[in-house]
């Protein structure tokens, strides 16, 4: 399959402001989720001491003497050691959907803009504490993969990747997400956090590869949607074209039965998606193009 030429969508608004304070507030939430990926507490290469206190206990022979806590020892007369939550340097993978359906938005910004913003936020949080950041885009030909790198180089690569834009209309790839997940599962050896930012539409057979990925990593699914995709407005007759498949359908939205049935089907689809993700114990965040996506992301990740 040949690479498709990406282009920033015409109505691109950009992700909006990303104030540092808000991102800091998200830090712990994301870090905690990432930690869940790690089985047990066995030491790993590149493990370092963190700052969060795990416990304060009596000194046992074999403990590191640098961890002796002077205050507790003086208080009780028995040597105590202070043990911290070990922080591993994790690699975070960010998978971004660049299929044509992402270049759609009827509220403040496009879905692609929200996806870009979420990717940048996750990226910035990932490179703190020495973690590695890798990224991949799917939905536009073969997945463009950025190998894990750390700090500024990784961030620069990520922002260039998501700034490339989305695939042009007419490009339909129902197995893009599945293939990308399998690729990441084969490349990412060490456990880490995988964030999937997509609208989860027009994709098939991705639950199984997601299960494979979930077995080793901690997965965060960020679903980006638009209010109009959930409900049709009453604007009379419409001729609608799917950006990916080019299918055309005419619908009379002035009929309440049509609008209600559409809303019901969309609710059902969303509920099934949530159910499947919950079954795989994947964290599910729903962002909308209307309203403040950063606020919503913060609320859900706290």
């Amino acid at each position: 399959m040949s690479r498709v030429a990406l282009a920033p969508p015409v109505a691109r608004q950009g992700p909006g402001a990303l104030p540092n304070e808000v991102i800091d507030a998200l830090d712990l939430g994301v870090a905690r989720r990432a930690m869940r990926a790690l089985p047990g507490a066995h030491a790993m290469p590149r493990a370092g001491a963190g700052t969060e206190l795990a416990q304060l206990r009596v000194y046992q022979p074999g403990d590191d003497v640098r961890h002796l806590d002077p205050a507790a020892t003086a208080r009780t007369g028995v040597p105590h050691v202070r043990l911290h939550v070990p922080e591993r340097a994790l690699t975070t993978w960010v998978l971004v959907d660049v299929s044509p359906s992402m270049a759609f938005g009827t509220a403040e910004r496009l879905k692609a803009d929200v996806a870009e913003g979420a990717a940048l936020v996750i990226g910035r949080l990932a490179v703190r504490r020495g973690g590695g950041l890798a990224a991949a885009t799917f939905g536009a030909g073969p997945a463009h993969v950025l190998r894990p790198r750390s700090s500024r180089a990784a961030l620069a690569g990520l922002s260039r990747l998501v700034g490339e834009g989305v695939a042009p209309d007419g490009h339909s790839e129902p197995d893009a997400l599945a293939r990308c997940l399998l690729r990441v599962a084969s490349v990412a050896r060490l456990p880490g956090l995988v964030a999937i930012i997509s609208d989860f539409r027009d994709q098939q057979a991705w639950l199984r590869p997601l299960g494979v990925l979930r077995a080793r990593h901690s997965v965060l699914a960020i679903e980006v949607g638009d209010p109009r995709e959930r409900e049709l407005p009453a604007v009379g007759r419409l001729a609608l074209i799917d950006p990916e498949t080019g299918q055309r359908v005419e619908v009379d939205t002035s009929r309440a039965s049509v609008r209600e049935r559409f809303a019901a089907l969309e609710r059902e689809r969303g509920a099934e998606l949530a159910r499947e993700l919950r079954r795989l114990r994947v964290d599910h965040v729903e962002l909308s193009t209307g309203g403040d996506w950063l606020l919503e992301l913060g609320k859900r990740l706290r």
């Binding site: 759609f104 638009d226 799917d242 950006p243 299918q247 359908v249 619908v251 049935r261 969309e266």
Partner: protein, 281 residues
């Protein structure tokens, strides 16, 4: 308009079959076709009954009519067929009867009341010879008496050669000149016999004579029929009854074609607004 959730919309809309979109175009084309037909000035032929027609049934009840080659007997079949004929005629047409054997004996002038006509038909019985010519002349006299009233016709039913009286061909020629058609029906099959009326002797052959009846019909510019069973006889009389009492004329039906085209156009407009996207193709 670009919309990513088209798959869901298709599920919602899916029940509307796609052939409905083509209905407005189909109706428009049909309307144009009907309009084109209307422009060609269509005409139709309609039969309207003539109230003032007069018809005389001339029925043979000679001895040979008791033969049973036409079940139940030739005479019975003829009587039933005559009933059918009378029933087919429009109620304002006048029917008369002349029953003959050795001479014309049962006479009923053409009237509109069917009861005397039917009883005259039923009262005949089979005996005697066949005097066709005199019967035809009598029938023509009856018609001439009421001649001022519209077209006339004679229906002759016979089964054998004329062996008495005037020459029927000459009488038929006169009828032709007076524009009175004599439709003839030859009843019976060729190899029929009846038993000898005296009881002794060989059976007497009683074949019909279709050639004579054909000549009678030709002389008076009418048609000749042959019948060998009740069904065919009934059919002939039915046909004659329908034909003689009415006249066919053509008239133009352009107006109804134009109305049909208009109705189709309105239907196309309504269908376009409802089912298509509001565009009339």
């Amino acid at each position: 308009m670009r919309f990513p959730a088209v798959a869901t919309v298709k599920l919602v809309v899916g029940t509307l079959p796609s052939w409905r979109r083509h209905i407005p175009t189909a109706l428009l084309i049909a309307a144009l076709a009907v309009l084109a037909l209307a422009l060609s000035g269509p005409r139709t032929t309609v039969s309207t009954p003539i109230g003032s027609a007069s018809i005389v049934l001339v029925t043979d009840h000679s001895g040979s009519m008791e033969a049973t080659d036409v079940l139940p007997s030739r005479l019975d079949a003829a009587q039933r067929a005559a009933h059918t004929f009378v029933a087919q005629l429009p109620s304002a047409a006048r029917v008369g009867v002349v029953g003959f054997s050795t001479q014309p004996d049962t006479v009923q002038a053409p009237v509109t009341d069917r009861a005397p006509v039917l009883s005259a038909i039923d009262s005949q019985s089979a005996s005697g010879g066949t005097d066709t010519g005199d019967a035809l002349a009598l029938a023509m006299d009856l018609l001439r008496q009421g001649a001022a009233h519209g077209p006339s016709a004679i229906v002759l039913l016979s089964d054998g050669a004329a062996n008495l009286g005037r020459d029927p061909i000459a009488v038929a020629g006169t009828a032709g000149q007076q524009r009175i058609p004599i439709y003839t029906v030859a009843l019976g099959s060729q190899d029929t016999t009846i038993p000898d009326p005296t009881g002794f002797g060989a059976p007497i052959p009683v074949p019909p004579d279709p050639a004579l009846l054909q000549r009678i019909a030709d002389a008076s510019h009418a048609r000749a029929f042959t019948a060998q069973d009740q069904g065919r006889l009934n059919g002939i009389y039915k046909q004659l009854g329908g034909q003689l009492g009415s006249v066919r004329h053509t008239h133009e039906v352009t107006a109804s074609f134009a109305l049909a085209a208009l109705a189709l156009l309105i239907g196309a407009a309504v269908a376009a607004l409802r089912w298509s996207s509001g565009r009339i193709p």
